[in-house]
C-alpha cells in the first residue's frame, strides 16, 4: 500500500491532496473554549488541595491536563465529523469544512493523548496521569462513540468526563482522591445536564436532523424542563456542601447560596417556558448563566481559600 492508496490523500480527480490546514485549524480541533473551562477547574482543584506543589510542576500539570482535554476534543471531532457536517452549530469545524482530514485529526488526537498522559506521569505522579488517561478514554470512547448516539442520558453519564479535571488537579498535589475532590467532581457532574439540556432545547432541530437522542427530542420538552430544574437544585445544594463540611467558609456558603438561587430561578423560568416556544429566550439565558455560574462557584472557592490563608497569615503575625 502506498500513500496515494489512502483515500484521505487522493482528491476526487485523482490528484494528490496537499494540506492547506493552518496551525490555527489544528488548534481549533482542541475545542479551545471547552479547554479553558477544563484548565480553570483543574487549576481550582490544584489550588484547593491541601499541601504544596512546586509552581513549575503545577504549571506543567495544568498544561498536560489542558492538552489531554484538547486531545479528547480532537478525537471527538474525528468521530463526529459526519454529524458535525449537518448541524449548523458545528458545520464550520475543521473536518466538516474540509480543512483537516479525519485521519489527520485522529493522529493528532492520539499523539496529544499519549504525550499529555506520559508527561503528567513523569513530571507529577502516575495517579493523576491515570485519571487523565481514563478521562480521555471516557470522553472519546464511552461518551462520543457509545453514549452520545444511543441514549438520552448521554450527557448525564458522559458529563463525568468534564467533572474529572479538578480531581486530577487535586491528585497532582495530594497523590490521592478525597471527599472534598469528589464534591468538586459532583458540582460539575450535576451541573452538566442542566447546562447541556438548556442548549439541547434551543438546538432541538439540529440534533433531530442528525439523529442524536438528546432528551428534548426523545422525551419531549416538558420532561426535559422538569429534569433541568431537578439538576439545577441538586447542583445548587452540592455547591454549598464545602461550607457545611468546613472546607470553605460561611462567606463562601452565602455566595454559593445566592448563585445557586439564581441558577434555580433560571431553571424555573425555563420550566415556565411554553412548549413549542420558538425563541426560547429563557433556555438561552439559562445556558449563558450556567457557564457564568460554574466559573463563579469555582472562583469563589479559590478566593475563599486565599482569604483563609491570608487571614491565617495576618493572625500569625499579630
Amino acid at each position: 500500500m502506498t500513500v496515494i492508496d489512502n483515500h484521505d490523500v487522493l482528491r476526487k480527480d485523482g490528484e494528490v491532496r496537499l494540506s492547506e490546514a493552518s496551525a490555527r485549524d489544528f488548534f481549533e480541533l482542541l475545542k479551545p473554549r471547552v479547554m479553558s473551562l477544563v484548565v480553570f477547574t483543574a487549576f481550582a482543584g490544584l489550588v484547593l488541595a491541601p499541601g504544596p506543589i512546586h509552581p513549575v510542576l503545577g504549571a506543567i500539570a495544568i498544561l498536560c491536563i489542558a492538552v489531554g482535554a484538547g486531545a479528547s476534543g480532537a478525537l471527538n471531532m474525528w468521530y463526529d465529523a459526519d454529524i458535525d457536517a449537518v448541524m449548523t452549530r458545528t458545520a464550520r469545524r475543521p473536518i466538516p469544512a474540509g480543512r483537516i482530514t479525519p485521519s489527520e485529526a485522529l493522529a493528532f488526537g492520539l499523539t496529544l493523548s499519549v504525550f499529555s498522559v506520559v508527561i503528567l506521569g513523569l513530571v507529577v505522579n502516575w495517579l493523576s496521569a491515570g485519571i487523565l488517561a481514563f478521562t480521555i478514554f471516557f470522553y472519546a470512547v464511552i461518551y462520543t462513540m457509545w453514549l452520545k448516539r444511543s441514549t438520552p442520558q448521554n450527557i448525564v453519564i458522559g458529563g463525568a468526563a468534564g467533572a474529572f479535571p479538578p480531581v486530577i488537579g487535586w491528585a497532582c498535589v495530594t497523590g490521592g482522591v478525597s471527599f472534598e475532590s469528589v464534591i468538586l467532581f459532583l458540582i460539575i457532574f450535576l451541573w452538566t445536564p442542566a447546562h447541556f439540556w438548556a442548549l439541547a432545547l434551543f438546538k432541538m432541530r439540529d440534533y433531530e436532523s442528525v439523529g442524536v437522542p438528546m432528551l428534548p427530542n426523545v422525551a419531549g420538552e416538558a420532561t426535559t424542563k422538569n429534569q433541568i430544574v431537578v439538576y439545577a437544585v441538586l447542583t445548587a445544594l452540592c455547591a454549598v456542601v464545602p461550607a457545611l463540611t468546613g472546607a470553605a467558609s460561611i462567606g463562601y456558603g452565602a455566595v454559593a447560596s445566592l448563585l445557586g438561587g439564581i441558577f434555580v430561578y433560571c431553571s424555573i423560568a425555563v420550566w415556565r417556558m411554553p412548549d413549542g416556544d420558538q425563541k426560547m429566550i429563557p433556555a438561552k439565558k439559562m445556558f449563558a448563566f450556567s457557564i457564568f455560574y460554574l466559573f463563579a462557584i469555582f472562583s469563589a472557592l479559590m478566593i475563599d481559600r486565599f482569604a483563609a490563608g491570608a487571614l491565617g497569615l495576618i493572625g500569625g503575625i499579630l
Partner: protein
C-alpha cells in the same frame, strides 16, 4: 521528471505548521530541561 508543485496557499500553510511544530518540540525540550532542574534540585546551578 514530474514533481508535485505546491501552490502559494499550500506553501504558506505548510510553513505555518512547521513553525508551530518546531515551537512545540522546542518547548518540550525546554520543559524537560526545567523539570530536570526542579526535580534534581537547585544545587546543580551552584555546582
Amino acid at each position: 521528471m514530474e514533481t508535485v508543485k505546491l501552490t502559494e496557499a499550500q506553501r504558506k500553510s505548510r510553513r505555518g505548521r512547521n513553525i508551530a511544530l518546531g515551537l512545540a518540540l522546542g518547548g518540550l525540550v525546554l520543559l524537560f530541561y526545567v523539570v530536570t532542574l526542579v526535580k534534581i534540585g537547585g544545587n546543580m546551578l551552584t555546582g
